[in-house]
Symmetry: C2
Subunit: 249 residues, 2 copies
């Protein structure tokens, strides 16, 4: 039996989604919670890996059981275990999935949101949940620059040296910048992303917003296909994996 | 010279705004930060006291200096000190105020927001920042019940036994309940509130929302003028002091 879950987590305490030899991971916490419920080892495959400190509001994942188990009871029991272990991770949804449904390989769309708080004062209530930028941001210029990145491109400039993707060529479907008061939100959508791609793009847009880069420089950085041309990698605490989409949804 | 500041804080680590003999307070943290900047003792008076664990997004306060000091430099220096001491408290604004302007006594309006997240899954990213209620809430019934509390009433039912107010009679100007997805927000505005009044009102509205109380029971609880008729005190982690208003603003 295959179960499909939707996960939310505060990325602060974790080295990212994937199991790591050298630190806590969301995957390990979720797998241990499930194992304590059903008494058998499981592997929980997620749509994306996410970096150290990155949050998730709607990560999709799946795992297989050797016997039948009610999905709602599973969600409740796993949440109870996660809460007991004080993990800031929750299962928002749990349903039975077809045997050929794979959270990672069936996924056809991924969406991230990046949250900036544009003010002088340090963060308090939202500490660790957004990137504070003191200098006033020109979100219109940021959105204009973002449009230069949308489309089918070689994103080598915006790719981590640790990226395991076979190719640096990706299609960025959407990169929107909008302001709500002192909040600036950046939404990114694509079939898939390179390692550090969203944070690298946001970092460059933040330079544009502060007037340290022109809009054209973002286009030049993209065209250079050179990691050395990257302006800045935005901190992980502002990044949220918001959505994974699948055919037929 | 009198300086007027606007404060934001995460209430989690504090016993409330006011200095306490038995635990950390926002007042103490702010006073110590100012004292380390100017080298003299100050008392920082705020518009409201707030309970243990209650957050603030826009608390107003003032303090007096024996000599002139640039307000912007004060804000920056105090924020740097608070950050260094890892206090989740920030000064959002600092201006010179007239000698007769008093953050507490000149204040003619106070507004709170209460944040509920209405879902089964435990909180992760917003842990400690909202009240999670698993049972589906009827926000329309909650808003209807809230209107029974608006106006000039004896709020004894919704008053803590520790309340120091001279009279239990207050005028509640506004108590609005609205839903945005799985979020239910309750906004309360009045010239002043009794100790625990907002949390006590929210607790009863939550009972209405869950169908455990009828709308009429809220009116009956108010009319009883009896603390024993209180349904429930909502937890402090969902409460935010959002605004203090002054004549001429």
């Amino acid at each position: 039996m295959r179960l499909a879950i939707k996960l939310e987590w505060n990325g602060g305490p974790y080295m990212g989604y994937q199991r790591q030899g050298h630190g806590p991971s969301v995957q390990q916490a979720v797998e241990e919670a499930i194992e304590s419920v059903i008494g058998e080892a499981v592997v929980v495959n997620a749509a994306g890996r996410t970096d150290t400190g990155v949050h998730a509001l709607g990560m999709r994942a799946h795992f297989d059981l050797s016997r039948s188990f009610d999905p709602f009871r599973m969600m409740e029991a796993v949440n109870a275990r996660l809460r007991l272990a004080e993990h800031p991770i929750a299962v928002l949804d749990c349903i039975e999935a077809p045997e050929d449904w794979h959270a990672r390989f069936s996924c056809t769309g991924r969406a991230y949101e990046y949250r900036i708080i544009n003010r002088r004062a340090p963060l308090t209530v939202e500490l660790g949940k957004a990137w504070r930028i003191a200098k006033p941001l020109d979100e219109v210029a940021m959105h204009e620059a973002a449009q230069l990145l949308v489309g089918h491109h070689d994103f080598t400039t915006f790719r981590s040296v640790h990226c395991q993707s076979a190719s640096p060529i990706k299609t960025l479907d959407r990169l929107d910048v909008r302001r709500e008061g002192d909040r600036v939100f950046i939404e990114a959508a694509a079939r898939s992303f390179l390692h550090h791609q969203v944070r690298s793009m946001v970092g460059c847009l933040a330079l544009v917003g502060q007037g340290m880069w022109s809009v054209a420089q973002v286009g030049e950085a993209l065209a250079a296909k050179d990691r050395g041309k990257l302006g800045l990698n935005a901190p992980s605490e502002g990044l949220y994996f918001v959505r994974a989409t699948y055919p037929g949804e």
